[in-house]
Symmetry: C2
Subunit: 363 residues, 2 copies
């Protein structure tokens, strides 16, 4: 079952939980804002649903509470940042801030960050740049999830690409795992006790898995030794374009782990606290190409033309960011959607930290 | 039927044909080199197979023989180039040259080029940067080919993303349409009289087309009014990730037609010679992030780890650029593969231009 919860109350609860871990009030607020932003925009797989994962990482020392990102090397248009295993959300906001500063001064900023933590949705960071009139991009690697074309097991992360661009009436925000789906989406289907609706997961490289009750297989998605993984965007065969998702995953690896000399997806281990994901953050000022206003106007008209295309019966043509904008208007008014299992996980974390959940669960 | 032809002889023939159109000897050589490079690397859909298309464009004035690209606006890290409807190959080489120069001087170069012509494979231009130790990227838009998710007809080009990075023993070159397949691949299947092996083409937004003899439907892939198009990478449904290919197609549109204020895919018409495709060229010097040699070594080891993964029975795990490298070694020695229909098209062009094909067709 899924219920609705007031976003401001849930924001306050997440803040309390992070303060109970030992994060400053200001940093707890930043983390709560990023997670609740995600739920408000309807991306339930990456909002408070992720608290249980972060909790495990904070407990085993993979996310370090008193850690701060440091610039290791920089030029006018680039930086390499050592995140020192701090919270992914805090590192992400800091790193995109550096990229934005460079783009404002020199037109472009490309930042690659290593030894970081899971940072939630890549689109959140891309949009930080778009909110300031810039093009924003962000990607991250993660523990292996994607099966390279023709391989038997996962080796590359779900490695998303996010791209945000200012537009009217609201920003264009594209944010997509280079696998068919991110890990979080499979978790949501399992929590909702639904079978997987397409070839998302494969055993032995090419045997489809749909059954949500196949716990042994689906649990081993996080096991680097198991011959189980998620199909690249495009599927498990070259005929359907799977080698393209695989290639995009490698491209993300270059901007995250290769340029920073950090850990590649396959080098990240859940237990080894001296390994962690890498992220990239790019900001580009459209004004280096021409009149920003004209560029944004042309783009906005283009997106509107897409929305106006004739749709197949019963469907609508949308552009990326539209659904999230509709979800935001709904959630802001009617509350964010959280399934019961996630609520139980949050309760258990709060109880352990002696945070009273009572005031926050009335929607 | 497909036969083998000596690559140097075919290069000389293409050169002669372009000189017969009126291109300079030097420019004809550049165009021949780009096309034969493509065939040598086994990408038959975009090599001399494309001569018939270019011939139509040269004849109707869409590709102008005495035209040169001009820089309209530039900064240390960016340029907007007006290609003045010159040959796409020549514009592409010039524009990537500008990006490379900026990357060598300032770390990054981002170039967007408008009013260009079809430039062949995007990977060729990305690799020009990789050949000089830089990361290279290139994209282009094109007449509508991709059906946006839930729409009934095509509106976005097949908009490829190419990414090249120096590596040992050979460069990593990723080059993929953001549709399941590029237009050229469908043309090759039709010439070989083979049915389409997966859901590449759809009518009315969601009705699959496999039959290669369905001429009426497949011919209308180039008709902007027809309700026929190619599926985005990921397929025609959101469950299989089709909205991701659609979003990547829009991202390519931003870097090509939006930032340059050129023609979007839907604004390019085959008959209106005052419209043309847009392209983007990005070069990044890895040295702005750290020791280039260490970065390239780490990347090369990573690619080798991928190649060494256990494969599903009867298959091999490769990385992007490997197959093309194998094809190159084969074609260099044994000749490039050209189907009979393409040979007939080339003969007809040569005959019209009074170029004697006799010396070139002995393999």
């Amino acid at each position: 079952m899924t219920n609705r919860y007031d976003s401001q109350k849930m924001n306050a609860l997440v803040n309390k939980i992070y303060q109970a871990y030992g994060f400053s009030k200001e940093n707890s607020q930043k983390i709560a804002d990023a997670l609740i932003y995600t739920d408000l925009h309807g991306i339930t797989s990456h909002g408070v649903q992720r608290l249980a994962l972060y909790d495990r990482f904070i407990q085993n020392g993979k996310i370090r509470i008193d850690s701060h990102p440091e610039i290791e090397k920089e030029t006018d248009v680039s930086a390499v940042i050592d995140a020192n295993f701090g919270s992914g959300q805090l590192n992400g906001m800091y790193s995109m801030g550096v990229a934005i500063e460079k783009a404002k001064a020199h037109g472009v900023g490309i930042v690659t960050t290593k030894r970081s933590g899971h940072y939630g949705i890549a689109g959140y960071y891309a949009n930080l740049a778009a909110e300031q009139g810039l093009i924003g991009m962000s990607s991250c690697n993660s523990r292996p999830g994607m099966i390279p074309t023709n391989a038997k097991k996962a080796f590359i992360g779900t490695n998303p690409i996010a791209f945000a661009m200012p537009a009217k009436p609201h920003n264009f925000i594209f944010d997509a795992a280079t696998t068919v789906v991110p890990q979080g989406k499979i978790e949501v289907y399992r929590k909702q006790e639904k079978d997987l609706p397409a070839l998302w997961v494969a055993k032995e490289g090419n045997q489809p898995v749909y059954d949500h009750t196949d716990t042994a297989t689906l649990d081993s998605l996080r096991d680097p030794e198991a011959n189980v993984g998620i199909a690249p965007l495009g599927g498990i065969t070259e005929e359907t374009g799977g080698h393209k998702g695989y290639g995009l995953g490698i491209m993300v690896e270059v901007f995250t782990s290769i340029l920073s000399l950090g850990n590649t997806s396959a080098e990240i281990s859940a237990s080894d606290v001296e390994t962690g994901p890498c992220q990239s953050f790019i900001a580009i000022d459209p004004a280096i190409f021409g009149d920003s206003e004209k560029i944004i106007d042309k783009f906005s008209r283009y997106l509107e033309d897409l929305r106006q295309l004739t749709a197949v019966p019963g469907k609508e043509v949308y552009v990326h960011g539209d659904k999230e904008q509709l979800a935001y208007q709904d959630r802001k008014k009617n509350g964010i959607e959280i399934d019961d299992k996630t609520i139980m996980e949050i309760k258990a974390i709060a109880d352990r930290l002696h945070v009273d959940t009572q005031p926050y669960f009335v929607s």
